[in-house]
Amino acid sequence: MTVPRRRSRKQQGVTYDDLTGTLRERTVVALADPVLAANLRTAGEAWSEQQAKMKGDYDFDQMRDRARDIRRSNIRDLPALLAQLQNSVRENGGTVVRAADGAEACRYIVGLARARGVRVVAKSKSMATEEIKLNDALEDAGLEVVETDLGEWILQLAHEHPTHIIAPAIHMNRERVADLFREEAGTNDVPDDREGLVAHARMRLREKFAQADIGISGVNLGVASTGTLCIVENEGNARLVTSQPRIHVAVMGMERVVADWDQAAHILEVLPMAAIGYDAANYVNLITGPRREGETDGPEELHLVIVDGGRGALRGTEFEEALSCIRCGACLYSCPVWRNVGGQTYGSPYSGPIGAVITPLLEGPASPGSRDLPFMSSLCGACGDVCPVGIPLPDLLVRARARSSSPHKTRTGIGFRIWSHLWRHRLTYRLTIVAWRLALRIRGKGGWVHRLPGPGANWTEVRDMPSKWPPHR
């Protein structure tokens, strides 16, 4: 049963506004950065090692199968679960807003901030708020927005985009971080060592927590049965964001809901395993409404903003399984492409295999910023192997390619039309093979072709083509 499509206004895209060059050009830039390469390698290998250890202790396949079934059922029952979540949150004193798209969500939040006379906003990490470009909207309205997740704060100071869902600033070195902190604090009196830097950040950010009138967080999972928002973290900043300011705004993608605590418990176990390779995150904040009568800390108001942004339209389609995603980042860490170019190359807050699938789906398959993303994959299948909720990512990538309408794809479409006419008959197939082998022999020198013409030119950009086989004998 499909959700009735809403006619939303043209929504802002998901990809960043400051994209430069084509996707391929951005990969070339990333490949030329040795610092990035080293950091990505460290991060990817550490994650792989930790995964190997975990899998020794836990039955990944069984946990994955159960998580997959849970999430599939959540998406199947989505309208009812969202209705239940909404009611439960309201029963506990929270306000719920269903936003058709990012623009509507931003309008509500900016409107709320204005109405409450807010000057400073403290944020904890939220992919959804990056997707809807909430920071820009708040800053345009004259508010000061501070990212409090250490990595996100570093990026904010550097005016950069994240490299990874879970560890956004891993492409940066300590020296660069120290420089950014000096600039922010307006003083050179900033430590150089890692522990000193963390301590410095802690105090600077506490200043912001003290000033913030609104705390904005994401939501890892919404539990429909009790109206509880689960926010998972390791640093503790989300706890401060959701407990210190007088207003808490939680932004949630509409697909991030589970039915009950049995399901929530399983997903809350699977998430840190896949994300960081440990069986628990340091802090899991389970928030049900604003503070109660008699409590002296905690927000006085809780606003849950549930964003559709193109998600509802995926239900009932061949891409429905992409909605199972719990944003663990495992597919990124396992991806040979991501491990070599990093998340910024994708140009979207959602990078890696899942980002390559959902960014064009959420933006619209003709969107110039993202329509090439599904092609940036060798379809090796590592992502499908590691996804803790069993999303068939390689299949979705191929389906996304079929749906893409990039000009490049139109050109290959012409090529493949010719190809299919020639190669469905024995004789014409034979002819092309003979012609090709002749061309190889003519152009080959010492058993290799160094430059192919036309569509083959991209092959010989970086490698030779053997004109005889085996090539070395």
């Binding site: 490949l31 379809l379 299948g381 191929v398 970086v462």
Partner: protein
């Protein structure tokens, strides 16, 4: 199944496959009208074009014999993708039938305990193509098949499960990225200490060999059929 890559780049591969099978006592028929499993069109996002060519393949291989393929990726295409490609199509039954009879070459040898009586070969390192590893879920059959070859010593490379970067159309659309992955793979192969890398997939080997030659990494490449059919 010869595979279009073998036809176009290395006929020695399908001929060696036939030789190996015949030496092992198998009766081999090579249908003359065969063309391509259509994977390039499928992965490029053109399922209709893929279907047109795949239909021809289904017709050519109609029958009851096992279809042996010296390519993990082509075998994977037929076995795992033809059912999706032809779901709800008139050829659905024929497609499922073919998918049920298709098997990759080394898997066939191991399944039927066949010895192709290959001549000796030296140390090699094995590249597990992503399709063998993940689509066919197979890592053992190439190694078991090589175990029968006199003098064949397998020196495993590190990170065998990392993609070589070929990826079909990916190699042409993101050549620098594809090249970087290929270079990493060629170096791992070289670091294994073996002078040559073998694999069940010609696409990977063309790519690895091509990069090794361009960048001067000393590693040779052969398809596993060439070792087993030598």
């Amino acid at each position: 199944m010869r595979t279009c890559l073998s036809d176009a780049i290395a006929p020695a591969v399908w001929k060696a496959t036939r030789r190996a099978l015949e030496r092992a006592g198998v009766e081999v028929r090579v249908p003359r009208g065969q063309t391509c499993c259509s994977q390039p069109a499928w992965t490029a996002g053109h399922p209709d074009q893929a279907r047109a060519v795949a239909r021809h393949t289904i017709t050519v291989f109609a029958g009851t014999e096992d279809v042996v393929v010296p390519s993990g990726s082509c075998a994977g295409m037929v076995i795992h993708t033809y059912p999706e490609l032809f779901a709800g199509q008139p050829e659905q039954e024929a497609a499922l039938d073919l998918a049920g009879r298709t098997i990759e070459f080394t898997q066939f040898l191991v399944k039927h305990d066949l010895d192709p009586r290959a001549s000796a070969c030296g140390p090699v390192t094995v590249h597990d193509s992503c399709h063998m590893l993940r689509v066919l879920d197979e890592q053992d059959s190439p190694r078991q098949a090589l175990a029968n070859v006199p003098g064949c010593e397998i020196r495993e490379m590190a990170n065998t499960d990392q993609c070589c970067g070929f990826g079909g159309v990916f190699a042409l659309e993101f050549p620098e990225l594809s090249g970087r992955l290929g270079e990493q793979k060629a170096r791992e192969a070289m670091n294994s200490g073996a002078p040559e890398v073998v694999s069940c997939d010609l696409g990977c080997l063309m790519h690895i060999a091509g990069i090794a030659h361009r960048t001067g990494i000393p590693i040779r490449a052969r398809h596993i059929s060439e070792v087993l059919g030598s």
